[in-house]
Symmetry: C2
Subunit: 321 residues, 2 copies
């Protein structure tokens, strides 16, 4: 396991920060997803979870935990204190990635979006068949819960852990991600109103992003007030993430995007861009950047501990893929 280098306000290197954490998360994911039996099923699960991706949600969870943790133990973000924190929070980061992978597998199925490629690779059902892909998604959902319970150390209070599992179920289920996918079905081929687009996005993308920041802070021991600030920050971040996605679908190019742009338009799908227009969407993003930074200012932690969260917000808004 690589140690996480000292990070101070002056030396904060976002790319390095992201790369080291991505590697830590992927090592742990691989460990939680052995090549077991039935072979086809585990291969299919590994294929989707371990085949790259930004790990945005898992890193958001880890960065939120770090911000709270180092405020508690004092000092700057240090390598020495990190292994305890990593053991505490990586199971939650990995559970989030498993749930996210599951949503992508099911979303790509012919019954839903019928996508052949994701991140430049054939989608899960193209490789393993629809039956195994469907079941791999189901299994990942259960594995996320199993990992959270069996791998989170006892230092995390049992009530806290139960609240995290209940919240994950809530954010992932009919009132969250899955509900958002159903609203998405209703959006295709229609000129939708802002209310429906908001419901769709809040569920489909927003709920798991909010959970990522909230659970990171909560598992690391944030009090209720701080938990609520993380919730508000992450709601802003999540919305910005979605608007940026819709913008990229119009303005992005296939090379940096890794997928064909213009899909929403081809599907005749209502998005933030169809609703606000290009300039309106950009203005909304600028507003969300300010709001998000203002929420972070309210989180009473010394500045350097929030650097990563600030950069994650700015990344969500200014990214090119």
């Amino acid at each position: 396991l690589k140690t996480v280098p000292d990070v101070t306000e002056k030396t904060f290197d976002f790319d390095q920060y992201i790369n080291i954490r991505r590697q830590l998360i992927e090592q742990r994911l691989s460990q939680y997803l052995p090549s077991a039996e039935p072979e086809q099923l585990w291969q299919s699960m590994r294929y989707s979870v371990l085949s790259g991706g930004k790990r945005f949600r898992a890193i958001l969870c880890l960065a939120s935990a770090e911000a709270v943790y180092f405020n508690k133990v004092g000092g700057t973000v240090r390598s020495t204190a990190d292994s305890a924190l990593l053991d505490t929070i990586l199971p939650c980061c990995c559970a989030i990635e498993m749930v996210h992978a599951m949503s992508l597998i099911h979303d790509d199925l012919p019954a839903l979006d019928n996508d052949d490629f994701r991140r430049g690779k054939p989608t899960n059902h193209k490789v393993f068949g629809e039956a195994v892909a469907l079941l791999a998604g189901d299994a990942l959902l259960m594995l996320a819960n199993e990992v959270l319970i069996k791998e989170t150390p006892k230092s995390v209070g049992r009530e806290v852990l139960l609240s995290v599992i209940a919240e994950l179920a809530h954010c992932t289920g009919a009132n969250g991600m899955v509900g958002g996918q159903v609203y998405d079905l209703a959006l295709t081929g229609k000129v939708a109103e802002a209310e429906l687009i908001t419901k769709m996005h809040n569920g489909k993308t927003g709920a798991l992003i909010r959970f990522s920041a909230w659970s990171g802070a909560t598992v690391a021991g944030a009090n209720l007030e701080t938990q609520e600030l993380f919730n508000q920050f992450a709601e802003t971040l999540g919305l910005a993430f979605q608007i940026a996605d819709d913008l990229l679908d119009v303005t992005g190019d296939i090379k940096t995007l890794g997928k064909t742009p213009g899909k929403d338009q081809a599907d005749n799908k209502s998005t933030w861009v169809t609703l606000f227009g290009l300039e309106g969407a950009r203005a909304k993003l600028a507003e969300l950047e300010e709001t998000g930074l203002a929420f972070l200012d309210k989180i009473v932690l010394s500045d350097n501990r929030l650097s990563a969260l600030k950069q994650l917000l700015q990344y969500a808004i200014h990214r090119v893929n």
Copy 2:
């Protein structure tokens, strides 16, 4: 809420016992599945969970809990003491039914068994479309966890509750039910060996039946030794349930069965009957009945408290649908 009548060894009426409990479980399920938004999704979830079924797993869970509970509080199975027990165990019973319904919805999809009818009604995707059916299954899996955590009273220890959720995830995931469905895919059109048939059945049906009895006993406060006896009893019961199912597919008639018999043969699927023959399967069932009753004898509880479990074993073996 109907009260559960006094049950003594002499007056034990299995049909009445089952009917009252089925009603209690269904009332609670309906409460946990409101008609919420998105409407299509919740309707689809309600359709599959509330459209009948034997409730065998939920009743097994409740009967196991009752056996342990009344041994602790003393006396015979009484109406007065029951409401506390019901509040304790019904969330778990309902979670089991939700997971079971989810497995049926996904199993019926064209990507898997492609069944148009279940229990004499059109399958979920025939009514709500494949996309919603798929997502309803996902949502039910998460709702099962949410209900377990939010509705199980604090009188159940937090460690116990976490162990129940972890075990449900394990029994339902790649090492249990979902894994069994993948083995099932490998069985179709092949002459399979006993090992593969066993793996398929243990996962697909056995794991959740075992969980049902174990979780009932565990939530009601059974010690580790008693938990293990419930595990062994339920493994026997689960295997008997499956062999009886395979036999019914050959010997049952469409009217009492509620579905077309002969499907396994039409699908060229290896079953216990293709493996053992009709007489061999019947002999195996008789052997399992003895083994199961012997396990119950080892559970140190007064006889009347085990009546329901004995009858559930015999029902699993001698049922006609």
